[in-house]
């Protein structure tokens, strides 16, 4: 199955990935609408990235079965079934299910690969993994 992967050693902190993601999915360059978040951590030199690793914990907490795993193994959200309860946002072990007030349904990385294509330093890549991460 496909997941996004990130190498902090190659990340230069340009935040182009955030812009590309939010532009693709929300038609605006806004880090709050990106499904990848680059973060500085106090006392650390390297940056870190938060994005969905397709673990699927959210599928179990969703009360409407709006979350499911597609043919590529990627966890997807059926907006039509979503009641906007944000259980998935709260229960994601990685904080990788995002929510913005402009939209009732949460959003997450679905491994479209745009950020990997645009990253100037190849810090991001779409890779194959055997099974969902724990």
């Amino acid at each position: 199955m496909k997941v996004l992967s990130y190498d902090p050693e190659l990340c230069v902190g340009c935040y182009v990935c955030e812009d590309v993601c939010s532009e693709t999915w929300f038609k605006v360059a806004d880090g709050e609408k990106s499904s990848i978040r680059i973060q500085e951590e106090e006392g650390k030199v390297l940056l870190s990235a938060t994005f969905c690793n397709q673990c699927g914990t959210c599928i179990e907490v969703c009360p409407t079965e709006a979350l499911y795993r597609d043919k590529r193994g990627i966890v997807r959200l059926r907006k039509k079934l979503c009641v906007g309860c944000l259980s998935c946002v709260g229960f994601c072990p990685y904080g990788a299910m995002f929510y913005h007030d402009d939209q009732a349904e949460p959003f997450k990385c679905i491994v479209c690969g745009k950020c990997a294509t645009e990253c100037p330093n190849e810090a991001l890549a779409v890779i194959d993994v055997e099974t969902p991460p724990q």
């Binding site: 009360p63 409407t64 906007g84 309860c85 944000l86 709260g90 229960f91 929510y99 009732a104 349904e105």
Partner: protein, 716 residues
């Protein structure tokens, strides 16, 4: 593949409407349905109603107050059943935001009962266009009422093929009333059962569609016999259908505020539920062993507070029986998710013997009431009773506490096999208890007598069987006519008041002060107790005005709660509720305002009880079993504690006294304490010594309406 039987439905009355948009939690109208003359109409929700009564129980009481007469009895056509959620009901972001309140005149107490319930009916009713549903009158023959918010149509229909027992209604709802799977999502039914027809302790079942199980599930408006009123009105089911539910279906004033605290609480539950109460795995069953450890679990009709077999009914057992990993919230977004079920349970008795069913529960109250209180420690017996109580529409608490009373009477020789028609109703005899339940379902035998409830059983046993009136009065755990819920209050004066000084009867809905009082000793003086018996009933009432469930308030707590000023109030969660209420309604409120909102509704309910002929000081009397040891055996089981109390509080030397003398002294002291508690609480609530709300109190609360004042003036 079975052929679907064509269901006959004959429309008796029809009403079409355009569902108004929900605005800040309100549709602005309530639905009135009269089963006698087939009136169906919309009544406006006024600004005054929103301001003074908010919603939920407040709307229910207001409609009922205006709908009945001073002498209306529970089985008069004028009695009403009013169902309302509240402005915050239907919110999906915050755990526990889908509750409804049901209000009626109770067949057990003859005063107002309010009963709170989960499931989807209340919120879907709102999204179908109605802030409340008011049912009055009586149908000539069994009917269903269907409220379709997608087509804007309300009908009263004769539907002879529709079953009566709830699990069959659930099947009918999803198979006959829904064309496709998606149609089932936004439908809900209210139903009772055949047991509600033959007892005074009928409950209402509120359905929700469980998408993972692909089956209907049920929560209960258990207390007070509203299911009995429902069947007396010859209603088989209320059905609501609404458009799809979305995160902003309440059209809140400020969605962002709600989303913020909702996500925060989800995270808190994610991080702490496992190490706190494990609601997501075992529901309220965690209470069984804790209560037993603290000597608070009712055993053998509240005689004792613990039992070595309590772990057989404890959380670890139930976690294995409940199917794990299913989002068991009874409204969308509740991540406390405590509405667990036992799947694939095969019934071994009764009319549905052999059927494999889903058992909704059991909850703590059902386990303690039908289990330990009756000396039964077999989980399968509790499951069998739980299922049949639900499908028959019988309150598990009244059934449990009522059966425990019967068992003590049996063991004391008040009853025998002849009097019970062959049922050996001794503590621990699960088969006899289950058969008693089936008799209630059929309306036969001793089940008919037991189904009348403890108050009427006492009268019957005295009159027909020569029972000692003092004995049955002392051990019959009912107050105001309603059976006690499942906590042993003997050693907590505050909780004796928490049960006894209620409006509706001894239901823990109003106050749960046992830990604060008995375990943590935070309420040493009368004033402390009176303050707690003002704050907590008022604060807990507030949930029922808005559509909130109380469990997310205190069954999970933030990690730093113990360091706050008033940990028992869970201040961070109270602030969450302020955020949501303001976020939905646009009304800026503070923590202090919440209690003020409830005081209005609470006082109206008290005046209502007085209007119906009760509601005064003696209405708050309690049976002695709730306050102290009735039998020598009970005294001896806690002799050390009681002896030291005689020394400490009464300056007596227990060494020179017989058990009977000690019991008499303790009783006099405790009964006097309770009377003093009444005085302190009534004063704090702004009532007279006779428990009548003073006019200045009604004025302060803005409900000094002429007809309200007229009721209290007689007693001032």
């Amino acid at each position: 593949m079975s052929e679907k039987k064509e269901m006959t439905r004959r429309v008796l009355a029809e009403y079409t409407y355009e569902a108004p948009p929900v605005e800040r939690g309100y549709t602005g109208q309530t639905l009135y349905v009269n089963l006698s003359d087939h009136t169906i109409d919309a009544k406006p929700v006024t600004d005054m109603m929103k301001e003074k009564f908010v919603g939920g129980r407040g709307f229910g009481l207001w409609r009922l107050w205006n709908g009945v007469n001073d002498d209306t009895k529970w089985d008069d056509p004028e009695n009403e059943i009013v169902i309302s959620s509240g402005p915050c009901g239907g919110t999906t972001q915050y755990a526990g935001s889908g509750k409804s309140l049901v209000v009626s005149i109770s067949p057990l107490t003859d005063v107002v009962i309010d009963s709170n319930v989960g499931g989807h009916f209340g919120p879907l009713l709102k999204f179908a266009g109605w802030d409340a549903l008011e049912i009055q009158g009586k149908a000539e023959k069994d009917v269903i009422v269907v409220i379709d918010g997608t087509t804007g149509r309300v009908t009263i229909e004769e539907a002879p093929d529709v079953p009566v027992d709830t699990h069959l209604i659930g099947q009918w709802l999803v198979e006959d009333m829904a064309e496709k799977e998606e149609d089932r999502y936004y439908m809900s039914a209210v139903s009772a059962g055949t047991g509600a027809e033959h007892t005074r302790m009928g409950c209402l079942n509120f359905s929700f569609y469980d998408r993972k199980r692909k089956a209907p599930r049920f929560k209960q408006a258990g207390r007070g016999g509203i299911g009995t009123v429902f069947r007396d009105k010859r209603v088989k089911a209320l059905v609501v259908k609404s458009p799809p539910v979305k995160g902003d279906s309440n059209h809140p004033a400020d969605q962002a505020r709600i989303a913020r605290v909702g996500a925060k609480l989800h995270r808190e539950i994610r991080d702490y539920d496992d190490e706190q109460n494990q609601m997501r795995r075992g529901g309220t069953s965690y209470l069984v062993t804790i209560m037993s450890d603290y000597d608070l679990l009712p055993v053998h009709n509240f005689r004792f507070g613990s039992h070595p077999d309590a772990p057989k009914l404890g959380r670890e057992v139930w976690k294995k029986r409940f199917t794990q990993g299913i989002p068991d919230g009874c409204w969308y977004g509740c991540t406390i998710a405590c509405a667990h079920a036992v799947d694939g349970y095969t019934l071994r008795t009764g009319p549905y013997k052999g059927q494999t069913v889903i058992v909704d529960g059991p909850e703590y109250e059902t386990i303690a009431g039908t289990g330990s209180n009756c000396g039964i420690f077999d989980p399968d017996a509790v499951l069998e009773i739980n299922f049949y109580c639900d499908t028959y529409g019988i309150d598990t608490i009244s059934f449990g506490t009522g059966t425990a009373f019967v068992m003590e009477c049996y063991e004391a020789g008040v009853l025998d096999k002849e009097k019970t028609g062959g049922l050996e109703l001794t503590f621990g005899n699960a088969d006899a208890s289950i058969e008693l339940l089936h008799q209630m379902g059929r309306g036969e035998g001793f089940g008919k007598i037991a189904g009348q409830g403890i108050r009427r059983m006492k009268e019957y046993f005295v009159k027909e069987f020569g029972a000692d009136p003092q004995f049955v009065q002392d051990i019959g755990m009912e107050a105001k006519g309603l059976e006690y819920s499942e906590y042993v209050t003997k050693e907590s004066l505050a909780q004796q008041g928490g049960y006894g000084l209620t409006n509706k009867g001894p239901q823990h809905d109003e106050a749960w002060l046992i830990f604060m009082d008995q375990v943590s000793n935070l309420l040493p003086t009368f004033e402390d107790k009176a303050e707690a018996l003002h704050y907590f009933p008022m604060f807990r009432t507030w949930f029922g005005l808005c559509g909130f469930c109380k469990l997310p308030w205190n069954d999970v707590v933030p990690p730093d709660n113990a360091e706050t000023d008033e940990p028992a109030k869970i201040p961070e969660h109270v602030q969450n509720y302020v955020e949501i209420f303001s976020g939905v309604t646009g009304r800026e409120v503070t923590k202090e305002d919440l209690v003020n909102m409830s005081e209005t509704v609470y006082n109206l309910q008290r005046v209502f009880n007085i209007r119906l002929g009760h509601g005064r000081r003696d209405h708050d009397d309690i049976p002695y079993r709730s306050a102290g040891p009735v039998t020598a055996e009970e005294y001896e089981s806690r002799a050390e504690r009681y002896d030291s109390q005689l020394q400490e509080f009464l300056g007596l030397d227990p060494a020179g006294m017989s058990t009977e003398e000690k019991m008499a002294a303790l009783r006099e002291y405790r009964e006097d304490q309770y009377e003093k508690l009444k005085d302190a609480v009534y004063a704090r609530r702004g009532w007279t010594k006779d428990a009548v709300p003073k006019v200045e109190t009604l004025k302060k609360l803005g409900i000094d309406f002429p007809d309200v004042v007229a009721v209290v003036e007689k007693y001032l």
